[in-house]
Symmetry: C2
Subunit: 131 residues, 2 copies
Amino acid sequence: MSLYVGQTAQLSKVFASAEVAAFAELSEDRNPVHLDAGYAAQTPFKRPIVHGMLLSSLISALLGQHLPGDGTIYLGQTLKFVRPVYVGDGVTARVTVSDIRSDKPIVTLTTEVLNKEGLPCVQGEAVVRYG
Amino acid sequence: MSLYVGQTAQLSKVFASAEVAAFAELSEDRNPVHLDAGYAAQTPFKRPIVHGMLLSSLISALLGQHLPGDGTIYLGQTLKFVRPVYVGDGVTARVTVSDIRSDKPIVTLTTEVLNKEGLPCVQGEAVVRYG
């Protein structure tokens, strides 16, 4: 696959309460801020929020299936959780090639998950080996 | 909550093929290296491996529920995927307090996910605000 700096891919999804509850079981992360509206009302978030790792999993989906795609091996990821995403709101994950090594098939991508207003909620960088 | 450097918490789990398939649907990450033994046999991994983000979600579970626990706000996470975990194998996630800020209620923890031999598979660092 021929990659270039600036190349980008994106994916949109809504995490509704059923998805968030299913992820809570899989991950063992049953923090009530994700699951219980009454509890969330007492926190700075006021409403239930989606798990940061569930949002971030969309980045992995893009890397392995779209950019670079088939044969990608995930080496590392940084994540900053800068803004909450409320359960039921749409999000868009986006990855953009920022660096391509000339000595090895290793590429760095900026990664972000945006809320429905287009504001960044998760920001970071991925490093992958591509096949 | 009174925290100290070196304080640690851990959590063990097996991700079997049913959990990995459920996570593939939630995350949209249907990379066949996680789901298809025939495909995985053609890769360097030889057998289906668990999604790195699913492994990493155990770290979030520990932070929000155990250390620091209730009221924790996840600010950031770094992840290095240094070794695969095979579907059906047990893993242990562990978080250990490495730094406590004196000016703000912010703590840094080293985070790792170990395979059944105790070897690190995911390594990194979390930064959280605690309540």
